[in-house]
Symmetry: C2
Subunit: 466 residues, 2 copies
C-alpha cells in the first residue's frame, strides 16, 4: 500500500493533525501577496515579453566577468570636477541628508580644499552654490556606506572585456573612524591624503604592472568557498587581491620610484583591513547588473541602494527610474556602548552585492558572519534558501559548498517579491546617526516593503495592451 | 500527555517499527568492539589513573600556542649531518621502503652532492654505508608525504613560548613533480636549490624582521572559518602567512640584500602554492601533541604517521613506542589518467593534523574539500560528527561555524576507537607507487585497524595491579 503524501499550505493546524496520523507532510511556506498588488501581478504575469526578457536580463548578468584594469583619480576616470560630490543611494538634496552622509560630505569638502574646517562645509552645502550632489550609480560607480566620492579620490576601474563597459569604486579606508561612516576628524583626512599620495599611485603601478589582469569575478567565486559572503566578510577576497598584486607592487612599485617602506606600508594597510576587497566586490556586482539593465518587460532588480534617508531600487524593465521608500534601521550587534538609538537608517550602495546574489543572499556560505551581524547559523542557512523564492536563477559560478554546491540565488524578481511578500535580506554595517561618529555596529535589514509594489505598478503600466 | 521518546541501538527494525507509530526515535550508532579487545578494554577502563591522565594530556595539548620564530637549515637547527636522512612515519630500513620514499631519498642524496645522478643513490642506500635513515618524529620534526629532510634543507621553527619546546618542518615545494611525492628529476632539484638559496634565506630575514611572531595556532583558528581543514586545503592559511610576512619580506629582505626580483619571485612562489601553509600546520599540531606525551595512564594518541609501507601510532601512556600495521591505499580522485593501481600506500607525517583534530576530523568546515578528495558534502559533515565518538575533547579555539561553532573533535582515545571500531578519518594526497612519478591523486584513508588493539594491549599491560 502506498503511503499518502500530503502537501499543506498556510495554517499549521491541518499539517499537525495529518502528521499526528503518521502521514508524510510537506509544509510549503505560503503568504498572501503584498496588499493591493493583485491587479498589477496579474498584468505583469500575462506580459508576453516577460519570460524571455527575464531570461535575457539574467543571462546578460551572469555572462559578465569583471577584470581589474586600472586605478586612477575620479577626476580622470569619472570626469568629476571640483565641487561635484557623488554619494550612495538614490538622488537626495542636502536638506534631507542624514548625519553620516553629511559628515562624509563635510570631510570630502575639506579634502578637496573647498573649506579648511569640515564644519564650515555645512554653510557651503546649505547655500548650494558651487557644489552639487549626484548618485554614484549615475556615473557607473558605487560607494559603500555614505559613498562620497570627490575628484581627488582614487578609484578601482573594472571592465567587462566583452563589451568594454566599466564600473568604478573608491578605495576602502578600513573600519572605525572613516569617512564612509560619516567621520571627518583630522585622522580621517590624513589617511585619505596618504591614500591619494601613496596607496592609489602604488596600486596603479601594481595593476598596470600585473601581467594578467585580476579576475574579480573569479576571486568572488573562490571567496564564497572561503567563508566570505562578500558584503560584511571580505577577508579571503582581500588576501587573494594581495596575493595577486603584491609581486607587481614590489617590482613595478620599485620601478615607479616607491621605496621599500612605502611598499611595506601598503602591504600592511591592505593586509590589516579585511574589508578592503568590498570595494572591488561592489563594482563587480554593478558591472554584472548593468548588463541586465533596460530589457523591456524584465522584472529583474538591477540596483538596490540607500542614501541614509531613502532606500531605492531600479528595475531592468523601467530604465533609470528609482522607486524609493524610507530606509530602515538594521537589527544586529553594536560596537562598545552603542545601541539601537545611535544607529542611522540603512545607508550605502553595498546592497548591490545582494542584488547580484551574494552578501545576505549567500549567508549560508559564511556562517561565521552571524558573529558580526547577529542571528544563528541555522538562520543563515535558511536565509539563502529563502532568497531562492524571490530570485530568477542560481549563479553557477557562485556556489555554496555546504548547500551541496547550489548556486547563489540571483536576480531579484519584483513579481516574486510582491507575490510572496518575502523581502530581500541585506546584511550591512551601521553608521552612527550623528555626523562624525563613524561605525556603531552591523546587522540585518530589509528594504521598505512599499518600493516593490511601486516598481510593480510601473512595470504593469508598461505592459503592451493585447 | 507527554509523548514517549525511544532511544534505539543497533538493528533498524525496531526503530522503524516505533517510528511507524509516530513516536520520536533517537537512533544511536552502535557497533561491537574490535574483536579480542574486551579484556584489555576492561583493564584500561578500570585504570584509576586514566580519567585524570587523559584530562592532563588534553589540557597540555590544548594549552599550546605555536609561534613561528625562525627559518634555518636542518644542519643548524636539527644538527643533521651529511648522509643523515629524515623521513616520514615510523622507522624503516631501505629494503622495505616504497617507491615514493625511495625516490625522495634518491633526490635528497643528489641534492646533498652524495651522488651526481639520483639513480646512483640506490647502490648507496643498499650498501647502507655512510647513510642513515631516521624518522622526522625522532628529531621533533614532521614531513609531508615522503617527508625526506636533508642537512641543507631550510626548516620552519615553531616554538611554544610557555615551555620553550620547538618543532620543525621543511618548506613546501608545491604540487606535481616534487620531492615529497617521490619525484627527483632535474626540475625538482633545481627548485630545491632555489629554495635553499633564495626562499629559505628571504623567509628567514622576514621572520626575524617581523615585529610580532606569527601565531600559527591563531591562523589555524581563522583558516577553519575560511574553508580550510588544514591538511588538503591550506589556501586561506597560505594567504594569511603571506599577509603576515610580506611587509618584512620587502623591508628586511631589502636590508638583507635581496633585490626586488627575488622578493617578487618569492611572493609569486608562495602565493602560487595553496599548500604552502601545510608545512606550518603540521609542526603546530606536533607542538601541541608533544605537550601531551608521556602521561602515564593516558590513552590519547600523540602521533599518527606513515612511511609508505607502515602506518604507526604513538600513544601518550606508552612513550615512544610505535604500534604499526600495513599502510592502506586511499580511495579518492585521481589526476589525469592515473588510477587506483598507480597509487602507493598511504605516506607522510601529515596525519598529525588529524591527530590534533583538524584535517579529516574538520572536514565539516571545508565542504569544498570533497571536490578534491571525493565523497559528498553530507559525508563531510557526518565525518566530523563521527570523530567526536572517538575523541576526548572539543577544541574551543578550533570551531566549526556550520556546526554552530562546535569545537573540532580532538584527542583520539585508543579505548574509544577499540570500543566503537570507528577508525580515524584521514584525508590525504596520493603518491605514485613508482619512484619518480609524483602525485597521482588525493583521497580518504584510515589507519589499519589492528594498530589500535596493539596499542590498547600495551596500555593494559601497564595498568598497575590493584
Amino acid at each position: 500500500m502506498s503511503q499518502p503524501t500530503v502537501v499543506t499550505v498556510g495554517a499549521d493546524m491541518f499539517a499537525d493533525s495529518v502528521a499526528g496520523q503518521a502521514v508524510d507532510v510537506e509544509r510549503v511556506d505560503w503568504r498572501p501577496p503584498m496588499p493591493g498588488t493583485e491587479a498589477d501581478l496579474a498584468a505583469v504575469a500575462t506580459d508576453p515579453r516577460r519570460p524571455d526578457a527575464n531570461r535575457r536580463a539574467v543571462e546578460a548578468m551572469l555572462g559578465v566577468t569583471a577584470h581589474l584594469v586600472d586605478v586612477a583619480p575620479a577626476s580622470e576616470v569619472l570626469g568629476l570636477e571640483k565641487g561635484q560630490f557623488l554619494h550612495a543611494g538614490p538622488p537626495i538634496e542636502w536638506a534631507r541628508t542624514s548625519g553620516p552622509l553629511r559628515g562624509a560630505l563635510m570631510g570630502g569638502a575639506a579634502l578637496e580644499g573647498l573649506v579648511d574646517d569640515p564644519e564650515d562645509a555645512v554653510a557651503l552645502f546649505e547655500s548650494g552654490s558651487s557644489v552639487s550632489l549626484e548618485p554614484c550609480h549615475h556615473r557607473s560607480a558605487v560607494g559603500p556606506m555614505a559613498g562620497v566620492v570627490t575628484p581627488s579620490m582614487w578609484m578601482w576601474v573594472l571592465e567587462d572585456r566583452a563589451t568594454g563597459r566599466r564600473t568604478y569604486c573608491s578605495l576602502n579606508e578600513g573600519l572605525g573612524k572613516v569617512l564612509r561612516y560619516g567621520a571627518y576628524s583630522s585622522e580621517v583626512l590624513t589617511r585619505l591624503r596618504w591614500m591619494g599620495d601613496v596607496l592609489g599611485p602604488l596600486l596603479q603601478a601594481a595593476v598596470r604592472g600585473t601581467e594578467e589582469a585580476t579576475d574579480v569575478t573569479g576571486i568572488l567565486t573562490q571567496m564564497l568557498q572561503m567563508g566570505d559572503e562578500a558584503h560584511n566578510r571580505n577577508r579571503a577576497g582581500t588576501l587573494m587581491l594581495l596575493r595577486d598584486l603584491s609581486p607587481a607592487m614590489v617590482s613595478s612599485g620599485s620601478d615607479a620610484g616607491f621605496d621599500s617602506k612605502d611598499v611595506a606600508d601598503v602591504l600592511r594597510f591592505v593586509g590589516g583591513n579585511d574589508h578592503f576587497f568590498l570595494n572591488l566586490a561592489m563594482p563587480a556586482c554593478k558591472l554584472a547588473l548593468d548588463a541586465g539593465r533596460d530589457v523591456p518587460g524584465s522584472t529583474m532588480v538591477v540596483a538596490m541602494a540607500r542614501n541614509g534617508t531613502d532606500f531605492g531600487v531600479q528595475v531592468s524593465g523601467t530604465g533609470d527610474e528609482w522607486f524609493t521608500g524610507p530606509a530602515q534601521v538594521a537589527e544586529g550587534l553594536f560596537l562598545g556602548d552603542y545601541g539601537p538609538d545611535d544607529a542611522n537608517a540603512d545607508i550605502g550602495d553595498s546592497a548591490i552585492t545582494e542584488t547580484a546574489g551574494i552578501g545576505g543572499f549567500a549567508m549560508a556560505t559564511a556562517p561565521a558572519i552571524v558573529r558580526l551581524v547577529g542571528g544563528t547559523v541555522p538562520d543563515a542557512l535558511a536565509t539563502t534558501r529563502r532568497m531562492h523564492e524571490i530570485t530568477l536563477a542560481e549563479n553557477p559560478r557562485w556556489s555554496v559548498p555546504v548547500l551541496e554546491f547550489m548556486g547563489t540565488p540571483t536576480g531579484i524578481d519584483v513579481s516574486k517579491v510582491c507575490r510572496t511578500a518575502i523581502l530581500p535580506q541585506i546584511n550591512t554595517g551601521m553608521a552612527g546617526k550623528v555626523a562624525g561618529v563613524g561605525q556603531v555596529g552591523a546587522g540585518l535589514v530589509t528594504p521598505p516593503a512599499e518600493i516593490f509594489p511601486k516598481a510593480l505598478a510601473a512595470l504593469a503600466a508598461r505592459v503592451p495592451s493585447a
